[in-house]
């Protein structure tokens, strides 16, 4: 009798936990066909290890640099740990986490997020944080990132956050319950379409150009973390003309890099050297580069990094080369497919492109 009772309780408990786990899986957004950048962070764990360069930052890294070009032209292995509106403390904790998986020779941090000293947006937080595996880095990152309306427990049990999605479940939620889709190239999100810059920003003056103490605090922590781990830290600013990069900000970054003996590359000042052309190399009027731009940037950056840090060329290593050959193939396949869609539909139908003006639904 007692045995039976215990058995019943066990069965009920299993069913409950199993049911909750299943519901959580079902209701958590899959980011398959829309806002696919929500999957970027989780994508890393399948590609961790063996990367000589790791890029960390917001959309200015994951849309602007092509790691496959770095491989093809220089034999540099690299990965981009980028996510939408990644805040500087999130970048720091991602760096910390990355070092638990591998020890790259160089880490490149994109400095745009210096402008944010406070938690910004719940939805972006979720995209950066949900994908991370549990570790003290994730816990600390969540604590640093939460807006006032957020609760830690909803990261522990995302069901508490996403429960109201019951009314908007779609086919992809069921199809991708237990699997995901391959969409990225070492953290790079490819777009081949072109939408040239039409106007240059006329910046609105700010009250205060000084980066916040919090931003500097985390930048200092990055410097220390890299030093302690024998990793070279490089600062970069991508050649995006929106959001505007103020001269006052530039000055602060130059000062900081000099004081700390860091290499700082501002691509906005290297348009001639990289050959970036805003008529052909951006897909959204200058916010992000397209494939052509990302490859140009990678070509320049690869040379610079290889020269400065004597990064090894792995193309001679058969094992590594085989692995990268496969990545490279997938890259060119997608490239071809995107051009095909562009040809066929006039826009990137299944890659998040928008119908050109006048043809909207």
């Amino acid at each position: 009798m007692k045995k039976k009772r215990i058995l019943t309780i066990l069965v009920v408990a299993c069913l409950l936990v199993g049911g909750l786990w299943f519901l959580q899986k079902l209701l958590t957004p899959k980011y398959i066909n829309e806002i696919i950048e929500g999957r970027l962070i989780a994508d890393y764990y399948d590609n961790a290890g063996g990367n000589d360069v790791v890029f960390i930052g917001d959309c200015e890294v994951y849309e602007n640099i092509s790691p496959i070009t770095l491989w093809e032209d220089y034999g540099i292995t690299s990965y981009i740990r980028g996510s939408a509106q990644q805040l500087i403390w999130q970048s720091y904790y991602l760096m910390e986490e990355t070092l638990k998986y591998e020890k790259p020779k160089v880490m490149v941090f994109n400095v745009l997020s210096m402008k944010y000293g406070e938690p910004q947006n719940e939805a972006y937080n979720r995209m950066t944080l949900d994908g991370m595996r549990w570790s003290d880095s994730k816990v600390n990152s969540i604590k640093a990132s939460m807006t006032d309306e957020e609760e830690f427990i909803t990261y522990l049990f995302p069901l508490l956050r996403y429960h109201s999605r019951w009314s908007e479940l779609s086919g992809e939620d069921f199809e991708y319950l237990f699997k995901t889709k391959r969409s990225f190239h070492q953290g790079y999100l490819m777009r081949v379409d072109v939408r040239p810059v039409t106007s240059y920003p006329s910046p609105t003056p700010l009250q205060d150009y000084q980066f916040s103490d919090t931003s500097y605090e985390y930048l200092d922590k990055m410097v220390k973390l890299c030093k302690d781990n024998g990793v070279e830290l490089v600062l970069m600013k991508a050649p995006s003309i929106y959001p505007y990069w103020y001269d006052e900000w530039e000055e602060q970054m130059e000062d900081y890099a000099e004081k700390n003996g860091l290499l700082y590359i501002n691509f906005l000042e290297l348009l001639d050297e990289t050959g970036i052309d805003f008529d052909t190399d951006t897909y959204d009027n200058g916010l992000h580069l397209n494939l052509s731009g990302a490859e140009k940037l990678a070509k320049y950056l690869g040379a610079e990094l290889q020269e400065t840090y004597q990064l090894p060329d792995h193309r001679g290593d058969a094992q590594v080369a085989a692995k990268w050959q496969e990545k490279s193939d997938f890259y060119h396949e997608m490239e071809a497919d995107q051009y095909r869609e562009l040809e066929e539909y006039g826009y990137l139908k299944s890659y998040g492109g928008r119908k050109p003006a006048g043809q909207e639904d």
């Binding site: 309306e149 429960h163 019951w166």
Partner: protein, 526 residues
Amino acid sequence: MLFTSYTFIAFLAAMFVLYYLVPKKFQWMLLLAGSYLFYAWAGIHFLAYILVTTVTTWYAAKRMTVLQTEQSAYLKAHKAELSREEKKALKAAGKKKTRHWMLFCLLLNLGILAVLKYTDFFISNINGIFDTDIAFMRFALPMGISFYTFQSMGYLLDVYRGKYAAQDSLGRFALFVSFFPQVIQGPISRYDDMAKTLYDEHPYDHHNISFGIQRICWGFFKKMVVADRILVAVNELIKNPADYTGAYVLAAMFFYAIELYADFTGGIDITIGIAQVFGVHLVENFERPFFSKNTAEYWRRWHITMGTWFRDYIFYPISVCQPMLKLSKASREKLGQALGKRVPVYLSTSIVWFVTGLWHGASWNFIVWGMLNCLVLIVSQEFEPFYAWFHKKFPKVGRTFWYRLFQVARTFCLMSAIRILDCYRDVPLTFHQVGTIFTEGNWNVLVNGSLLELGLSAADWGVILAGVLAMLIVSLIGRSGSVREKLSKQPMALRYGVYAALFLGVLIFGAYGIGFDASQFIYNQF
């Protein structure tokens, strides 16, 4: 700490574990510590108010009991020597002394409540009448002040009346005043009721705990699945009165009835369920009020503890005080038996409803609300002979299901209509809005999909409908005895199915988290 916050649930879980771990004689102290922690969470300075009420009431009651015991001991010892008149005089003198303590304590505490709650209302009326511009005080209202003040004053009056002896221990009395599940929104318990279980040693009792948790879940279901969801539509309707007139006002009345019922009874379910988990029995505050057949019955079944409080401590004392008895005699002589008898009753009814309205909130809306309730009560009392005649003439009609349904529907509609005074900004606007129901004639908005434009999708309405149906079914089952008792006799599969459905219902379909504002319980500030 809102009932629907993660913090509260964690607090509850910690209290629960500790409660059954500490030595049994410390259990009530743990509840006291927890209650004060809970209260301090809302703002540590608010503790001052509840402490003043607690200490003054405790001390005054204690003094009264001492005086009463001394007197009765003296009377007993000198029984033989004292004449009847002497005894009477002694009693009167004793009563006077205790009355001083009672009055001092009563006026102090009601004074605090009045100043904090009604000063700005008073100022705004003065400003309105004399066209002055006195600045508002904007006192922050301590959490649950109306509830704990009334509960304490009930105790004070009971001790004064000699119903029971005062509680000796300040700590125990403080727990009675501040017991955390009920301090925010009642029920307004009586001391003799609560003392039966509040201070006892409670061993782990599976039945109580399981039933308590079921009740808590059911409360969360009503509150989070139904009330907080339909709240969106109610707010849309009443915050934009100019856009939503006519049939929309009717819809608002109906939706608000659902919201308030689900919110308030859900909150009370959570309260009583939590108390049950700790082995404490709290008195019921609702008895399926929407099944009432008339207004008087409705008010005996809705917010019961408030109704009985007003009855016992205001209605009865006013009705039987000397001036009222004199008035009664005089009116019987002047107006004749039938009419004269009713004058004092109606007068005290009006007073009670005026105070009840004022207690609900410092605004004319609530005063008018109270007076309208009073009016309906008196009118239906006056119609009594007509109904009696009707039932004599058509004895079969009154016994049919349809007639009872008609009575229930009539009461529901009447109460919903009066209750809409809670919602609109002021009294004239409310009357204007209700008036448009009869003039606007836009009945088509009820069926042409306009109701789907109120911020809730069809799926949301589906959930609300299912929730309302669930509440209706539970109410129907509950008419013939405890729903949980009945459920516990069902086969295991069904039982666990119901528990799981309830739990998952709250978890998935609850309107909580980002995108939904966990609204304060509606009665919180009252």
